[in-house]
């Protein structure tokens, strides 16, 4: 992930960085202090060699006679203080930056997490979970860390770079030019290599993706691969991908490995050039020996920022790529803010629902619900049936205001749902879905969820109702058993748990979307009787594959291709001998 970041070119390199920096505003003063400290510390480091030069000069001057120890002590003490100050500045800078970086990352993470709750559900239809997760962790880390780090690196490198140029020219022009020229030769070599290696890096990332994809696929489909005698076939494909990856990986690895020795050579090269030219100048009597000593250090100070620039730019690049991903996510269109013109309270709601000419499509060009009309009376048990893709779950999504309808209206107690807030609607509906959702936590946590003041007695009561109480008691920690990676609940039991969760929530409307399809039919009987207790006197919607579940519904809505094609009770529909009857009978028909 991190590597890929380095290569991804953002469409708007500066724009996303500026965005990131502006979010950093809260900490601007700290960042500035830290930058100033790192500049100061760099400047102090640059003064160092000059003092060392003075010491050397004093020594050479008194080499044959007597060295002026007092003077040396004085200069050395100053130098020592300089080093200590530089250390302190550097350290404080590091501390401040660590704190800014982490607070900044924390803000970003909070923003993303907050954003998840504000996005319309349609956003998640087209995004994978892995993608959002990598934004919360990888991208935020990359952005937070790299942005601030590269700022400090770049500023201190720039200071050192400029400072050492100034000091070199101040000390000796000829040697300064020697040092700079020799470094430039080295660096042009490096730029050539960087350019050349770039394409290998990109292809390595792509090929790595392919190899990993293949591995993932084969490992997850291991059974099939084996039984179909496809092991060799998969191995051959793997070898092909793996060999291709190896070739490019070897090259990219080689090129990136070149950086280090070449940097070393540039350093040495500058050092040697300075030594030779310096020595010649000393002999001619143009400079003192101390100048060479100073330059030996200046060369190092001068060349190292150049590589830091390269490094700083590449981290900035990856920060920008991460920033793009983070801020694109944060900039996604949120759900419209609603004003609650009308508020329906749980107690007063009668429970009538009306669908008037409802039209909806997840995409504008693909209408799922064409012209849906239905009128539901308070306390009725409504079943929605139909073949896969008929739009059953979509109706629920619209009712819950997870998606907004394109045209038409849905009314609860004669109030259009457009006039009620989502929060208010959610307060009226209990929902159990086909995909059981159990989170990391105890059984009790999972049942109580976000409700407050639920007594243990109440929890036990609902669990007995769904037939879970006995099983939970056999677990070593009972209701405090942590549900997590090592599953001790079967998928059916998990579903019962979510039903228990729903039962604790006493709300006027109930939606069961394929809630019993994970449960075997015998357990289902227990659940259905529990459900009947739950749905008594309440308006309820039941979507089910198994038609046996819904036979006693007050009203069955038979859907096909986004419309209601039939409605009535089970007997009425069977007697009609139409679509429903066909659907119903197909489950018993003999196939021979």
């Amino acid at each position: 992930m991190h590597n890929r970041m380095n290569i991804e070119k953002t469409s708007d390199f500066k724009g996303y960085l500026i965005k990131a920096l502006s979010l950093n505003k809260k900490y601007t003063h700290l960042v500035i202090i830290s930058l100033v400290l790192s500049m100061l510390s760099s400047i102090l480091t640059i003064i160092g060699p000059d003092k060392l030069k003075e010491i050397t000069n004093i020594i050479t001057l008194g080499l044959m006679t007597k060295i002026d120890i007092n003077k040396i002590n004085k200069i050395a003490t100053v130098l020592l203080i300089i080093y200590i100050l530089s250390f302190i500045f550097n350290y404080i800078q590091g501390l401040i930056m660590a704190s800014v970086t982490n607070k900044f990352s924390k803000d970003l993470r909070s923003n993303i997490s907050n954003k998840i709750n504000k996005l319309p559900l349609s956003y998640f239809d087209s995004t994978t979970i892995g993608d959002i997760l990598s934004r919360v962790t990888n991208d935020v880390d990359t952005l937070g860390h790299n942005l601030n780090q590269s700022l400090v690196t770049l500023i201190s490198a720039l200071t050192t770079f400029l400072g050492s140029i100034v000091m070199m020219f101040y000390t000796n022009g000829i040697l300064a030019i020697t040092a700079i020229l020799s470094s430039i030769i080295g660096f042009s070599l490096m730029i050539v290599i960087v350019k050349k290696s770039q394409k290998y890096f990109t292809s390595v990332q792509n090929e790595l993706g392919e190899v990993n994809g293949h591995i993932e696929e084969v490992f997850s489909g291991q059974n099939i691969v084996k039984v179909y005698n496809a092991t060799d076939e998969m191995m051959n494909k793997f070898d092909k991908l793996n060999d291709k990856l190896f070739e490019d990986s070897r090259k990219s690895q080689f090129y990136s490995g070149l950086m280090h020795p070449i940097m070393g050579f540039i350093g040495n090269f500058g050092y040697i050039a300075v030594c030779i030219v310096g020595a010649l100048l000393v002999i001619k009597g143009n400079i003192s020996f101390g100048v060479i000593v100073a330059f030996m250090i200046y060369v190092r100070l001068f060349t190292s920022p150049l590589s830091q620039f390269a490094q700083g730019m590449s981290t900035l690049q990856s920060a920008s790529a991460a920033s793009e991903r983070v801020f694109k996510f944060l900039a996604e269109e949120e759900m419209i803010n609603e004003t609650d013109n009308v508020k329906l309270s749980k107690k007063d709601v009668k429970g009538n629902i009306e669908f008037n000419n409802v039209k909806f499509g997840y995409n504008k060009d693909k209408i799922i619900i064409k012209d849906f009309n239905a009128s539901i009376k308070s306390g009725q048990k409504i079943a929605i049936v139909g073949p896969t893709g008929a739009g059953k779950t979509t109706i629920v999504n619209l009712l819950m205001k997870f998606y907004n309808i394109d045209s038409g209206d849905i009314k609860i107690d004669n109030v259009s749902i457009n006039k009620i807030t989502r929060e208010n609607i959610h307060n009226l509906f209990t929902m159990v879905l086909q995909d059981t959702w159990i989170f990391n936590g105890t059984i009790k946590d999972n049942i109580v969820y976000n409700k407050k003041n639920i007594s243990d007695g109440k929890i036990k009561e609902v669990c007995s109702l769904v037939g879970l109480d006995h099983y939970i008691k056999t677990l070593p920690n009972g209701y405090d058993t942590v549900l997590g990676d090592n599953d001790n609940l079967s998928s059916g039991q998990k579903q019962l748990l979510t039903i228990a969760r729903a039962m604790i929530d006493d709300k006027p409307f109930i939606i069961l979307d394929e809630a019993t399809s994970n449960i075997d039919t015998r357990t289902e009987k227990i659940v259905i009787s529990a459900m009947n207790k739950l749905t008594k006197n309440k308006t309820s919607f039941i979507i089910a594959h198994r038609l046996s579940t819904i036979k006693n519904a007050d009203l069955i809505l038979v859907m096909d291709k986004g419309n209601i094609v039939e409605q009535g009770t089970h007997e009425e529909l069977i007697n009609k001998n139409g679509f429903y009857a066909e659907l119903y009978n197909s489950q018993f028909q003999t196939s021979n």
Partner: protein, 586 residues
């Protein structure tokens, strides 16, 4: 580490040896440079140098430096070769190993863990190997050679260097002991952040339906706080490293010059120049020594991470599949007979049996329904036939031969298995249908079309952009659940197997498609034995034999009619799904 290095091939070992020799040479050349500088210093101070002498020394320096660069490039080349080729080999070994695993081993590790081990962990090891070749060899060589250079010279200078090294070592030890546990905690908290976010995303409808957004956010913020605090702590600890390092580097030069001045002052006239040139050169060597110790420390910091990866990889490589291949690869006249003789099964280490003492026999062309409640062992029963697991006790015969004695490939040639969750691979529809081999041959195009037709998949495949050549994305995410299932059924039909195993494969289909598919299938596969696992009674009620399982025990076997009369469990299941009339009609 050593164990894993056994995966290195001869060529790679040779490359490593050459690299080490080159590194020794390179370090020798690097350390030669200050020596020439020392000569230059002496020449200058003697006051009798001529330009040629200095240029000569200078050229030597340049030659050494260039030679060192060339050597380093070679070492880089070898290291890159060894690292990536090792990675390739290791990845292949892992892949091959996992392919040989049975369900038991796969479940022991979990698929996702096997994937990370084959991808991330191997990359970690490669990076460590490449760094290791370059640095691990270089650091001690450089340290010892640099120490050799200075050891004969002034001991005060050596003492200063030693103090510098000690400071670095002490600091590193402290950091390693204080910071590494915290690093592990950071890792764990990052996992937690991921977990909570994943939880929020997978349950987004539930979260919203319960108005629990704030509840989730609270949970997230708690971990976020913890993570930030721990992160900050480690980073503040680490913040001291870079200032200490740079202060030591500059401090050593200062200390050497400072003490040098005193020493020169005290020395006799002739020694003065020697001490002076030593002093200048010494400061360069001392820096080299310090740098090499820093490198060593860096390796100790990276090693724990690589070491975790290595042990995770070894764990996989050292595991052998419990399923041993048999020898029989030639059959008899039987085609599609399956017999279970007192078969019991339990998961390793588990106490409870999943299946207990199951015996039955089925013949060519029969349809066998398997029904029972969740957790009754229906899937496990049919999973024993392709040897995803081996029976703990008892025997399973296919065509009269114990499946443990059969060559796996031969056994697989007889089977058409369709899993509960449809599994498709990246590639065209055609590639997916013609997956693998049957009797060492690929299936041909006509067969593919016919099987698509039977599996009720022809119409939607024809509607796809390129028909049968349309691409499926990884995991088949560009087709719906029901379509995936139909394709995976077509894949089995294309093999025209003796025995079909449908492991709850119809559950993603609506009743109508389910019905049509089974009707066509029955016509086409008259001569094949079919196992159909389902919880829908409608799907299996026409079967020749129905096996009824309850908590791993075979409580009934017979036709729908018979079972309604004789089997209580079956009757209960039937009553819960069928209406009175239907029961009576039976």
């Amino acid at each position: 580490m050593i164990k894993i290095l056994k995966n290195l091939q001869k060529k790679e070992v040779l490359f490593i040896i050459i690299s080490i020799i080159f590194i020794v040479l390179q370090v020798w050349l690097d350390l030669k440079i200050p020596e020439y500088m020392s000569n230059i210093t002496r020449l200058i101070q003697m006051n009798n140098a001529n330009i040629n002498d200095i240029l000569k020394e200078g050229l030597w320096m340049l030659a050494c430096s260039f030679g060192s660069l060339i050597l380093a490039i070679f070492v880089g080349y070898f290291a890159a070769y060894v690292g990536t080729s090792f990675e390739k080999k290791l990845r292949r070994n892992m892949f091959e190993k996992v392919e040989s695993f049975s369900m038991e081993e796969i479940q022991k590790f979990s698929t996702s863990s096997l994937i990370t081990r084959t991808t991330n962990d191997i990359t970690q090891v490669k990076m460590f190997l490449i760094l290791g070749i370059q640095m691990f060899a270089k650091a001690p060589i450089m340290a010892s050679m640099a120490i050799m250079k200075i050891i004969g010279k002034e001991w005060t200078f050596s003492l200063i260097t030693i103090i510098g090294v000690l400071i670095i070592l002490v600091l590193s030890v402290v950091l390693i002991f204080v910071a590494i546990p915290k690093f592990k905690k950071v890792q764990k908290l990052t996992d937690d952040i991921n977990k909570i976010t994943r939880e929020n995303l997978t349950g987004i409808r539930v979260v919203r339906a319960y108005n629990a957004e704030d509840y989730q956010l609270n949970k997230f913020e708690n971990v976020n706080d913890d993570l930030t605090k721990t992160h900050m702590f480690t980073q503040k600890l680490m913040a001291i490293v870079s200032p200490v390092m740079s202060t030591i580097m500059s401090g050593i030069s200062l200390a050497i010059y400072w003490t040098g001045a005193y020493m020169i002052n005290k020395a006799l006239l002739m020694d003065k120049i020697n001490i002076f040139s030593d002093m200048v050169v010494f400061s360069s060597y001392a820096v080299q020594v310090i740098i090499s110790f820093m490198l060593l420390v860096a390796i100790f910091i990276i090693y724990p991470r690589a070491s975790v990866s290595i042990s995770r990889i070894n764990e996989v490589l050292n595991t052998n599949s419990k399923i041993k291949d048999g020898t029989i690869s030639k059959g008899n006249n039987l085609k599609g007979d399956v017999e279970f003789i007192n078969v019991s099964f339990k998961y390793p280490d588990a106490e409870e049996y999943v299946l207990k003492d199951i015996s039955f026999k089925v013949h060519t062309g029969e349809v066998i329904g398997v029904i029972g409640s969740t957790g009754s062992g229906k899937s496990t029963l049919v999973n024993l036939i392709p040897r995803f697991y081996d029976a703990t006790e008892g025997k399973i015969l296919v065509d009269g031969i114990d499946i443990k004695d059969m060559k796996l490939e031969y056994l697989y040639n007889k089977l058409g298995y369709i899993s509960q969750k449809a599994i498709l691979f990246k590639g065209s529809v055609r590639d997916n249908i013609s997956l693998g081999k049957i009797n060492n041959k690929k299936v041909n195009k006509d067969v593919i079309n016919e099987s698509l037709n039977i599996a009720q998949a022809e119409s939607f495949v024809n509607k796809m952009d390129k028909g049968i050549n349309s691409d499926l994305s990884q995991g088949g995410t560009n087709v719906s659940g029901g379509q995936k299932q139909r394709l995976s059924i077509a894949r089995a039909i294309a093999r025209n197997p003796e025995i079909y195993i449908f492991d709850d494969s119809f559950s993603a289909l609506d009743y109508k498609t389910d019905y049509n598919l089974r009707k066509k299938l029955n016509k086409y596969t008259k001569n094949s034995t079919k196992f159909i696992v389902s919880s829908r009674i409608g799907t299996i009620k026409d079967a020749d034999k129905i096996l009824v399982l309850d908590n791993g025990i075979l409580v009934g076997i017979g036709s729908h009619k018979e079972l309604l009369k004789t089997c209580k469990v079956y009757k209960e299941i039937a009553e819960s799904q069928l209406s009175k009339e239907e029961l009576e009609n039976a």
